[in-house]
């Protein structure tokens, strides 16, 4: 068979993981990885946590260095944007007008931070946090910041708030349009645990409010809220979500619906074009309905599925969704189904802040949320896959060993 030309647009975690998986699956194919950022591929979770807090080095987030990629014959074009996909000729057009031919194309373009369109948003010391460069610039700003205002009480905003308190001792005020933290993505138990933790660590919240404008002489000085309240601020972080980077896909005529639409194999509406990571609205057999997820897990694993499909090994994406966040030295995780209609049982461990809430669907464990009890999350993953014979009373009892209740031999069908 002739050598296959694989082109990957997007040099983040999903693009890199796909390149590595492609190289495993096809020793001879030509693999080209194109990334708009100039850094080698890296993981983003630590940018708002360890790296910002100073407990992890910036280099520690790099997945593979350029020489390591070169050794695997993965060709990289970093700091280079793709302008267009020419579907008819199967080529991508780079920002310097060069054209690269592909047999199979993967779009792993990720997301961009959502911005605020209010006056003064371009003043100095107003940040968003998406890239490693964003993280380094924010770190620099926070060195001399006394008053930090975070816009948005989602995961990124809260992680930044926690890191800024812990490392820099900033006074932190979080402004949020909704009536509480994590309104978009979390069950009540998690929301209240996180909110309490932040308050006890001195973070101030202003709910049901938003930014009407920023004021200052070149450099930020005040944040004016919709309510009329005026906050003095040395630094602002806008954490109001992301927008999937679908522009290339749209211009190429691919099906897009808040994310590039792909099936369980990572295939788009165009036969030789695939998409991976958080830019996708993908099918996950475990969930059924197509979903777009901003998570490490999707970047890591759905990208491998797409890469395998590109190399001809079609295997459906079927994974129990899992998510973590670390704030003020506490670890919170979510796995599986945690919807509001499910029965909930909470087990509280003695001592430090440590608990697990189990979500039951007709007596069966369908998901969980943990506070510093990550081992339970792993057991719930097993319980969802294999089954667990356990009563709600036993689930609630921290002395009951969960592992001994797992179904030993999975049902075969």
């Amino acid at each position: 068979m002739a050598q296959c030309n694989y082109v990957i647009v997007g040099g983040g975690q999903a693009g890199c993981r796909a390149a590595l998986a492609l190289r495993d699956a096809d020793r001879n194919g030509k693999i080209v990885l194109i990334g708009a950022e100039s850094h080698p591929p890296y993981e983003r979770p630590a940018l708002s946590k360890g790296v910002l807090k100073g407990s992890a080095l910036p280099q520690s987030v790099i997945i593979r260095q350029l020489d390591q990629l070169a050794e695997m014959a993965i060709e990289t074009h970093l700091g280079q944007a793709v302008e267009q996909i020419d579907v008819a000729s199967s080529e991508v057009v780079l920002d310097d007008s060069r054209r690269l031919k592909f047999d199979r194309l993967l779009l792993a373009t990720g997301s961009r931070a959502r911005s605020l369109s209010v006056p003064g948003v371009n003043l100095l010391n107003i940040h968003s946090l998406r890239t490693l460069d964003d993280c380094l610039a924010l770190s620099e700003s926070l060195q001399s910041c006394q008053k930090l205002v975070v816009v948005g009480a989602g995961f990124i905003g809260l992680e930044v708030a926690a890191s800024a308190r812990e490392r820099f001792g900033c006074q932190v005020t979080v402004v949020e349009a909704g009536s509480g933290v994590l309104q978009r993505a979390a069950p009540d138990e998690l929301r209240s645990a996180v909110q309490t933790l932040h308050k006890s660590n001195g973070v101030h919240f202003l709910f049901n409010d938003g930014v009407s404008r920023f004021e200052g002489d070149s450099k930020l000085e005040h944040v004016i809220l919709a309510s009329g309240r005026v906050l003095k601020a040395d630094c602002v972080v806008i954490g109001i979500g992301v927008i999937p980077e679908t522009r290339l896909a749209e211009r190429a005529g691919l099906e897009v619906d808040d994310g590039i639409v792909v099936d369980e194999f990572g295939e788009t509406s165009q036969p030789n074009i695939f998409a991976a990571g958080e830019v996708t609205r993908h099918k996950n057999l475990f969930l059924g309905a197509p979903t777009r997820r901003e998570s490490w897990q999707v970047a890591q694993n759905q990208s491998t599925i797409a890469a395998h499909a590109m190399s001809g090994l079609r295997k459906a994406y079927n994974e129990i969704p899992w998510f973590w966040t670390d704030q003020f030295g506490h670890n919170f995780q979510l796995i599986g189904e945690t919807g509001p209609t499910l029965q909930r049982v909470t087990r509280i461990y003695d001592g430090a802040l440590k608990s697990t809430t189990f979500f039951l669907d007709k007596q069966a464990v369908a998901g969980a949320q943990s506070v510093n009890s990550g081992k339970d999350i792993r057991l719930v993953r097993e319980a969802i896959r294999r089954g667990m014979n356990i009563t709600p009373e036993q689930l609630a009892d921290p002395t009951v060993n969960l592992k001994s209740h797992l179904v030993r031999d999975p049902v075969l069908w």
């Binding site: 490490w296 899992w322 670390d326 990550g374 081992k375 060993n401």
Partner: protein
Amino acid sequence: MADENWEEVAKVGDIDDEEAIRVEVDGKPVALYFVEGTYYATDDICTHEHASLSEGYIDGTTVECPLHQGVFCLKTGKALQAPVEKDVAVLPVKVVDSKIYIQYLS
């Protein structure tokens, strides 16, 4: 390695099967595991971020970190599943007269 620097850390029966405890060896935290009649020991702190592997999930001769689900081999310390990339140190274990000893590098 000379046969020295063995520190008594626990007794047989202290750990249930497929469980782990955190012990101290030479003043450092070490995870001591018991799987199908064999004891294993590794550094307790994950090579990825600050988490205690003795609170992890043991599956055969692997342990999964409770923080971010990285997986290590208990026999070799090898990092088997992302996000961990760096191997964890393993320490020799021996049982003498129902006492469990772990050896550290001086």
